[in-house]
């Protein structure tokens, strides 16, 4: 993933930093080293792992520098290098924080989008019990954005309330189906509220974006060459014969400014040595080739001394969009196209379930060693199903 939104803003921040030599800079870092072996039901790759031990997928390095310019203003820069991405360093945070009062702060620049419960510290493995949060919920959720954020934090008696309100945009390159796609999220705004009361945390959040994908039309399709070819074919069908349905479908397949709405609800209970955490997420889309998703997980753990064992079940249920119901079935004219489109949308909507068991050992202060075994079952997709064994060392410093 490569973030490429307003470079000038980032550059400005980066150049701004050296000029504040007199200020004290606090450095922090985190490093996770993960390794694993996969046993896929078909093929030799699963969830980024292979049938021989590899050490890239869950390895990540973060370095963060922050400095207080005065009592109200601080600047933070975080650089992240992902093993899965060849340890190519990316600037994931670069923001100026203005603290209005004890309760209210305002952030400008690049920051982590607080999409889900673990989003704020998604890459800091040391901060949670898994090697990585359940992929059914968190796949693709690890994104930062450029914009503004308002953070309100206040204690009400024994309860501690946090509210985050954000607005901005992001652009990232993702590789999918062998094509580099540029995913642009504009007008990305939303909120997250959480309440911590003794052993109980409840959190809810939502955000909406206008998502466009450049390069989507380059995805290869049999018969018509690519998605772009499919669009051209649909547009070439005579309106007199098939009505306007085909053109509507062609427009949807362009993947331009599609509205995505994400919602989430999570509950975490930390009762003595027990931990239970569950989270539900929902992605609703309109007039888009993307699938609607409902995902959730529930995870329970038990700690004894420096050890913790945990069990997790996670699921994602996808509903493929219906892009063909408005196209009349005309044998030898549209039936092949309808089947092609239905097959294409179905391929992006694969239900998946994972059960995993894991252990975390707090080896020394700031260092944890973890092992996790997962059984992944993707509906009718043996190449994405199988077993995965992973180990990781997480450090913060």
């Amino acid at each position: 993933m490569k973030l490429m939104y307003p470079k000038k803003l980032l550059m400005g921040l980066m150049f701004f930093l050296p000029s504040i030599c007199f200020a004290e800079i606090t450095w922090n870092g985190f490093l996770s080293v993960g390794g694993g072996i996969a046993d896929a039901d078909e093929g030799d790759e699963l969830a980024g792992y292979e049938d021989v031990a590899t050490f890239q997928q869950d390895s990540v390095l973060g370095l963060q520098a922050s400095t207080d310019i005065n009592d109200h203003v601080s600047v933070t820069v975080q650089i992240l290098a992902n093993g899965a991405n060849g340890f190519d360093p990316q600037v994931t945070w670069a923001n100026v924080n203005y603290q209005f009062s004890n309760d209210l702060a305002f952030k400008l620049g690049r920051y982590q989008t607080p999409l889900y419960l673990y989003s704020d510290f998604l890459d800091v493995g040391y901060a949670y019990h898994w090697i990585s949060p359940p992929s059914e919920v968190y796949l693709g959720a690890g994104s930062t954005q450029d914009g503004i954020e308002l953070i309100y934090q206040k204690s009400f008696g024994d309860a501690y309330f946090t509210g985050q309100f954000f607005y901005g945009g992001a652009s990232e390159i993702v590789e999918s189906s062998g094509v580099d796609l540029s995913v642009d999220s504009r007008k990305r705004g939303g909120f997250a509220v959480s309440m911590v009361y003794d052993w109980l945390t409840v959190r809810a959040g939502a955000q909406s974006t206008e998502t466009s994908i450049e390069g989507y039309s380059d995805i290869a399709l049999p018969g018509v060459g690519s998605v772009g070819g499919l669009i051209a074919t649909l547009n070439s069908l005579p309106v007199g014969l098939v009505g306007t349905g085909a053109q509507n479908t062609a427009e949807i397949l362009a993947f331009q400014e599609d509205e995505f709405v994400y919602s989430s609800l999570s509950i975490k209970a930390e009762l003595g040595q027990f931990l239970v955490v569950t989270e539900f997420t929902d992605l609703a889309v309109d007039d888009s080739p993307a699938a609607e998703q409902q995902s959730w997980y529930v995870s329970g753990g038990y700690s004894f001394g420096d050890w913790m064992i945990h069990l997790t079940h996670s699921e994602t249920d996808n509903e493929a969009p219906d892009l063909t119901s408005d196209i009349p079935v005309i044998p030898t004219v549209t039936d092949g196209l309808i089947a092609l489109i239905d097959g294409f949308t179905a391929a992006t909507a694969i239900d998946q379930k994972t059960n995993s068991i894991g252990v975390r050992w707090d080896f020394t202060s700031g260092v944890a060693i973890k092992a996790e075994y997962s059984d992944i079952d993707a509906d009718n997709t043996p190449a994405s199903s199988g077993n995965l064994f992973r180990v990781a060392i997480d450090a913060v410093f």
Binding site: L17, I25, W27, V33, F55, G83, F87, A395
Partner: protein, 399 residues
């Protein structure tokens, strides 16, 4: 170039703030500013230099932060920005080490592989006498990997002994011929390295097997009608077995560049009696399958030190033999002769015979800063565009 800017800025942050207390970090760095000019026998570029003065090829900045998490556990991160790669920052080290005792260290994460004598500090030019170790031996390839590394280091009365073991994997981008983007996937890569130092004599041996897949190799272009290597493989697979036997399909498999085992080996000897330095190293690269070329490389270098000055002479050679794949295909005029030539063309791409003589000087003008100049004469057999002379200068600093 954008990354240059932010790296420079980052360096600015570090340098300007070097007087203030970091939480628990120890910062170190190294910097080489190199420049040079080339006089190729043909063309305009040679060994990364041009016929006008340029400063990219040997310039490098490294920044390292380490933090002691406990008595025995340390996290180390090194960011490297090489001029030869447009100063695009890369993470060369990022690991967590555990000191089992004074002699034994285990680390997991990312580290530079100690393939050859100078490999694990290849870019720390201040640590050796050349501007860079002989390129005939030290080809600038991705040399970091992710995995586990065990280092045993003990000082006995008769010698200092170091034994190292590593096991891991890595994926690295490689731009191939014809602009094809290739990804090298290194798997089951491990190595054993032994070093013994008796007073002024150091002996080192290493053995490093790996399984290599080159993703995208099939797209490397070939002249029509084959179009690319996958096209050649398809034709080889389509030849009737009755006519050409199974050899052609074996060659098609070999050209896949998939899971090919290769072994790196090296032997080095370094002598440092008094003011003299003598160092020599032999390396061997052995492909067990696939289109890669087997090779032998070596160098011998001698230097003499007087005060803060050192002069040195080096001779190095590289001899890469093309893999012989085509002999598995029977020669049938008008049927297989063209294909055999095409296969030979693919494997022949890696064949090279190269030697270099160089004369250099190093001046330590302050502890932590050295100035170097080097003149090298390179000759690649039958390839005047890769032969010629290069004059280079460099300032190395460690801080």
């Amino acid at each position: 170039m954008k990354s240059t800017k932010w790296l420079v800025s980052l360096a600015g942050v570090l340098i300007c703030s070097s007087n203030i207390a970091f939480a628990d970090f120890t910062w170190n760095g190294f910097l080489t500013v190199g420049g040079g000019i080339a006089d190729p026998d043909e063309g305009e570029t040679l060994e990364g230099y041009e016929d006008t003065f340029t400063f990219q090829e040997d310039s490098v900045l490294g920044l390292q932060a380490s933090s002691e998490l406990s008595d025995k556990v340390t996290a180390t991160v090194q960011v490297l920005a090489k001029g030869s790669r447009e100063f695009e920052p890369e993470i060369s080290w990022a690991n967590i080490s555990y000191n089992v005792n004074d002699d034994l260290m285990v680390r997991v994460g990312r580290y530079q592989m100690p393939l050859y004598l100078y490999s694990d500090y290849l870019k720390v030019s201040y640590a050796y006498h050349w501007i860079s170790p002989p390129s005939d031996v030290y080809v600038d390839v991705a040399s970091s990997q992710n995995g586990i590394n065990v280092v045993y280091d003990k000082s006995f009365s008769f010698a200092d002994v170091t034994a190292e073991f590593y096991y891991g994997s890595d994926d690295a981008d490689l731009s191939g011929t014809g602009g094809t983007d290739l990804v090298t996937e290194w798997r089951k890569q491990w190595g054993l390295v032994g070093t013994m130092a008796f007073d002024w004599v150091t002996v080192r041996l290493s053995y490093n097997p790996v399984h290599l897949t080159v993703d995208g190799y099939g797209n490397v272009p070939l002249p029509a009608p084959l179009n690319n290597i996958d096209g050649l493989r398809a034709v080889l697979n389509s030849l009737p077995v009755g006519l050409v036997g199974t050899g052609a399909s074996q060659v098609a498999d070999d050209l896949a560049y998939e899971d090919d085992k290769l072994i790196y080996g090296s032997a080095a000897l370094k002598l440092e009696p008094g003011n003299f330095l003598f160092v020599t190293e032999f390396t061997d690269l052995d492909y067990k399958s696939g289109p890669g070329a087997d090779g032998n490389t070596w160098y011998v270098s001698g230097g003499y030190r007087f005060g803060d000055w050192m002069v040195h002479l080096t001779h190095s050679e590289s001899d890469q033999d093309a893999a012989d794949l085509s002999s598995k295909i029977p020669l049938i005029p008008t049927v297989t002769d063209g294909l055999i030539a095409a296969v030979d063309g693919v494997t022949g791409f890696y064949e090279i015979e190269k030697e270099t003589d160089s004369l250099g000087v190093r001046w330590n003008f302050s502890p932590g800063v050295a100035f170097k100049a080097e003149y090298a004469d390179t000759e690649v057999t039958d390839n005047p565009s890769r032969s010629g002379k290069v004059l280079r200068f460099a300032i190395d600093a460690v801080f």
